[in-house]
Symmetry: C2
């Protein structure tokens, strides 16, 4: 999620966590990361989100955030354990970067790392460490927005040659996305309407929850609601979202 005002994710999260063991098979752990200004906090559990007490707590407790990354895991590489649950996070240029990946990457661990090492054993975390290693090597101090965007796009395209790479990454201000096979997105803004989840018998009337100036974009591998118009990203689409709006997009 990317939003221009601190917004809670309870509605979308209620749908997504069902896919972790109930309406979907991604039952090998889950995690969610919230940005509150420069602050960052995350909740992780190495069990199915549908069964997780921590997930139930997060679902009920409204944390308002301008950027959220959430992930439910289906383990392919790396055993089921806390250190292998997404989103992964690291500090770069005085900001906490976080990242979640859907897909599998071959041969990624042959790439050399500098300054960032994985804690767990997934190909996903390794790729994240490689992105940050490359960024810091190229830019020891924070570069311009344009330089950052161009560098990250190039790194995403290189990783995607190793396999499936659907990705969300945030530096607390920008949400970078790379669609390899599946990512859909939706921007909610005035006039707000009612939305109905696909995975749970739950609807919300955003008119009652929002103010007229709110702009909130939700990006997911699969649409989360049944009655809204989600846009499918194309293969090879790299985008940047900021304050709820798509501010950049590029297709290879």
């Amino acid at each position: 999620m990317s939003a221009n005002v601190p917004t809670d994710i309870c509605f979308s999260f209620s749908g997504l966590i069902k896919r972790g063991g109930e309406t979907g098979s991604h039952k090998d752990g889950w995690g969610i990361a919230f940005y509150e200004g420069k602050g960052y906090r995350s909740f992780h559990d190495p069990i199915a989100s549908a069964d997780s007490e921590v997930a139930k707590f997060v679902q009920q407790y409204s944390i308002k955030s301008t950027q959220v990354i959430c992930h439910i895991r289906k383990a392919n590489r790396g055993r089921v354990c806390l250190e292998n649950t997404h989103p992964f996070s690291r500090e770069l240029w005085g900001k906490i970067w976080s990242y979640a990946h859907n897909g599998q990457l071959k041969g990624i661990k042959k790439k050399s790392l500098s300054g960032y090492l994985p804690v767990g054993t997934t190909d996903s975390e390794y790729a994240f460490c490689w992105i940050l290693s490359q960024l810091r090597e190229k830019f020891p101090t924070k570069p311009s927005k344009a330089q950052r965007k161009k560098a990250i796009e190039g790194l995403c395209r290189e990783i995607s040659t190793h396999g499936i790479f659907n990705m969300l990454m945030s530096d607390s201000e920008n949400l970078y996305t790379y669609c390899h096979t599946k990512l859909s997105w939706l921007t909610r803004q005035a006039p707000f309407e009612k939305a109905q989840l696909l995975d749970a018998d739950l609807s919300v009337d955003f008119k009652k929850e929002t103010s007229d100036n709110d702009v909130v974009t939700v990006i997911a591998t699969q649409p989360l609601t049944s009655n809204e118009q989600w846009s499918k990203m194309t293969a090879g689409e790299f985008s940047v979202f900021r304050l709820g709006e798509r501010v950049f997009t590029s297709v290879a």
Copy 2:
């Protein structure tokens, strides 16, 4: 806490969080970090722990861990916000390091950093980034236990020349402590007894909660229980705990 078997901290945490706004004045946020093997998860809130819904959840939900670091904050330097709540964490040598500090440091921000930058504005986080910068500069790859210990001790002693520096730091295997003005500790092992909290009307019979081989050490700025024999660390005492035992101590 340092323990030789995954142990929950619910009892100690129930006492400590009262000091965040109820029995004590450390009401400017709180945080707790759990290690589960190499895995790491933390909970933070920028409000008084005594009033925090997240703290209530953590208190009721048993997370079993071999190392835990918890902190309640009284803001001196740096405003009350999420990015200024301890414990702070960073990755070094493929492990998540976490750290909490009690005290105030003068002139610490004149020290130069490399590879680790603070996200918030506290002197505490700056000092942590300096420790990690120094460690990585001196040891680009993970050094021996003895080298690590010696280097960290030296860095703690240098920081303590800047002001008050009571500190807990963990690399998931070792818990490093530095006592400048106040730290007390207690090791619980068989035969286990009943313990009564100082800050809450709560007691626990550890005989019923433990097995004969458990060794659990709790370290705190002030003793947490009324009927157990806490040892006060001396000024300038640097110690290392591992699997519940104090494995090293040195006084300048």
